[in-house]
């Protein structure tokens, strides 16, 4: 949302702005707005992911950009042109749908050729283009297969080729990977990234998978309850979440509820070193957030190096995740608050069992203090 004001645009927006969304509301008449005051801009050639839980309005926003619905308020422009100025079939937008929406009565190659036929490209060049795009998505030789003869991953690839073959200005991905198993999903994420880099097509992807957002995107927008919570690059988003919702949605985060005492977070009389993120009045309710990889763990009685806050805790549970362990540690001094702590374990040894006494600590920079809002963590 920070970039939005900068480009509160005129019609002559710069050539590098591919998509501009300006003050968009969408009201389906359900009592709450599906999208509220959404604004952002996207530069040509960038890969943006809109990330949010189900019902956050992310798919609605994507469908507004695709022009399938008209916003109640606000403007959406693609390369400076209002999206509502043209009917859907005249727009230069390729889309990969949630359930792919491949044409079941056509072969893979016929599906890919369809946009070329409908958009009246030169029929003489069609077979070459279809071949080229099938090769791009690594389906060479499978063009004659019917859709139901292809595997889930192969169908994904047909849908991508169909969305890209007419060289659209904008590619939209409506959670097409949600139905795939994890291994295939991760493979396809990298495929999306490779193809997007290869063609340089401006892309907007919608997902609820935070890992996917971090892996594939140049930029991320996090949405909740129809509102954009934060727009940032992946590393920036991860390191500097703008509020407790974003901190919770991306990464594994533990929360401490207390009051802001002017410099640190006061949890039941215990001062926890931390850095305020939002503007906070001294004495106001606040919520501290700390990532699982940022909590240091040590043997009881030891002094943890460079930690501004150090407290005694008890291991409540140890979760084995393969490449790492997650310790769940309760801290009596903080009202039995539970902290989740990652422990990477190259030596393959469990350091502590359940019930063991431990020492936990963190630096001032690690604990981020947010204004406390009504919603639960």
């Amino acid at each position: 949302m920070s970039t939005a004001e900068a480009v509160r645009t005129d019609t002559a927006s710069t050539a590098t702005t591919a998509v501009s969304v300006d003050g968009v509301d969408m009201d389906f008449g359900t009592g709450t707005l599906a999208v509220r005051d959404a604004s952002f801009t996207l530069e040509t050639g960038r890969f943006l992911t809109i990330l949010g839980p189900s019902g956050s309005g992310k798919t609605t926003l994507l469908r507004l950009i695709a022009g399938f619905q008209t916003p109640t308020r606000g403007e959406i422009r693609i390369h400076g042109q209002r999206i509502s100025a043209k009917p859907p079939h005249k727009r230069s937008i390729g889309m990969v749908f949630q359930r792919l929406a491949l044409f079941p009565h056509m072969t893979a190659a016929e599906n890919v050729a369809f946009p070329l036929k409908m958009r009246r490209h030169d029929p003489a060049t069609t077979p070459d283009k279809v071949d080229a795009y099938l090769r791009l998505v690594r389906l060479d030789g499978l063009g004659d297969r019917r859709i139901h003869e292809l595997s889930g991953g192969q169908q994904q690839r047909v849908a991508i080729a169909r969305a890209l073959v007419f060289e659209p200005d904008l590619l939209l991905l409506d959670e097409p990977l949600a139905a795939l198993d994890r291994k295939l999903r991760e493979e396809m994420q990298l495929e999306f990234r490779r193809i997007q880099k290869e063609l340089g097509v401006t892309t907007i992807n919608v997902t609820h998978d935070q890992r996917e957002a971090l892996v594939v995107s140049d930029e991320i927008i996090v949405m909740d309850h129809g509102e954009i919570q934060q727009a940032a690059r992946p590393s920036e988003m991860y390191r500097n979440p703008a509020n407790a919702f974003v901190a919770n949605f991306i990464g594994v985060t533990s929360f401490l509820d207390g009051r802001f005492d002017g410099g640190a977070l006061d949890v039941g009389g215990v001062s926890c070193a931390g850095t305020p993120v939002s503007k906070l009045d001294p004495g106001s309710p606040a919520r501290g957030a700390i990532r699982a990889e940022q909590v240091r763990l040590g043997a009881p009685g030891t002094t943890l190096e460079a930690c501004d806050t150090q407290l005694d805790g008890v291991v409540d549970d140890v979760i084995f995740e393969g490449e790492r362990l997650v310790y769940v540690v309760t801290v009596p001094a903080l009202g039995d608050a539970a902290l989740r702590i990652y422990h990477h374990d190259p030596a393959a040894q469990d350091l502590y069992g359940a019930g063991a006494a431990v020492r936990v600590g963190w630096t001032e920079a690690d604990l981020r203090i947010f204004k406390k809002t009504g919603e639960p963590a």
């Binding site: 695709a66 399938f68 009917p87 859907p88 079939h89 005249k90 937008i93 390729g94 889309m95 749908f97 949630q98 359930r99 792919l100 929406a101 491949l102 044409f103 079941p104 009565h105 369809f114 946009p115 409908m118 958009r119 169909r162 969305a163 007419f166």
Partner: protein, 265 residues
């Protein structure tokens, strides 16, 4: 796992159902090959003489071709109407969609004799009786729900975004319908149309009210023959009927694949 006793019970039920369903057909087929002069089962010897009789009977043959013509008219009327209605009911959010659905079921809930008398009055007032086409139209009207169901169940299987995807590919509304929606529901259209053809071919009660001596369809012709005398040639005609239905099913299998017709997906 199914236990042994469960298996016996299930197979027992399956066989009872199969026998009950096929017994009348088997009896008729058997009786048609009799060499005797009355309908009996098991048949009295074997001969094709009743088929020979049927093939020579000009009245029966004429009625058979009239029935084919009626079934063709019925299918030609029902195909566009049923296809559009089926697609509309399952693909578009219609105002009063539920009301339309119930209205389209009316031909099922009203006794056939009632619809038959209604149609007779309407066609009579128009002075259309005595032609074959009113019978075809009447068959289309009373059996319309079958093709609508067939098409809409086929359409309901499609991706809800299919038309949006077509628009996204650059297809306008008309192109989308003819290049995407219609071909995608074609299995349902073919199934429904063949069903309409068979039903019109076999339709009896409503036809009985609409035909006269010049437009007698085969089922009515058979019924009239029974009233005078029951001879094995009627069994032979019935077998011809069964053969037509079997041919339609074979055609369905070739065009659509029976597994699509029988399975929901």
């Amino acid at each position: 796992m199914i236990s042994r006793s469960q298996r016996i019970v299930i197979w027992g039920l399956v066989w009872i159902a199969l026998i009950a369903l096929s017994a009348p057909t088997l009896v008729v087929i058997g009786a048609s090959f009799t060499s005797g002069d009355i309908i009996t089962f098991p048949p009295d010897g074997f001969s094709l003489k009743w088929y020979d009789r049927v093939a020579r009977a000009g009245e029966l043959r004429a009625a058979f071709f009239r029935s084919l013509w009626v079934a063709t008219i019925c299918t030609l009327v029902a195909m566009p109407v049923g296809t559009l209605a089926g697609i509309a009911l399952s693909r578009y959010r219609l105002r009063f969609g539920n009301v339309v659905q119930v209205y389209l079921l009316l031909p099922f809930t009203i006794p056939l004799i009632g619809s038959g008398i209604g149609l007779m009055l309407v066609f009579g007032a128009w002075g259309a009786l005595g032609n074959l086409w009113p019978i075809g139209v009447a068959c289309a009207v009373i059996n319309l729900p079958f093709i609508i169901w067939s098409v809409s169940s086929s359409a309901a299987l499609l991706d809800p975004d299919l038309e949006l995807a077509a628009a996204n590919c650059g297809a306008g509304r008309v192109q989308t319908f003819f290049a995407v929606t219609l071909p995608a529901v074609m299995p349902g259209v073919i199934t429904g149309s063949l069903l309409m053809f068979i039903l019109a071919m076999n339709e009896f009660l409503v036809s009985l009210l609409l035909v006269d001596a010049r437009t007698m369809t085969l089922p009515v012709q058979i019924y009239n023959s029974i009233r005078s005398i029951i001879t094995p040639d009627l069994a032979a005609v019935s077998v011809v009927f069964i053969a037509v239905a079997a041919a339609a099913i074979a055609l369905l299998d070739r065009l659509v694949g029976l597994e699509i017709f029988l399975k929901s997906k």
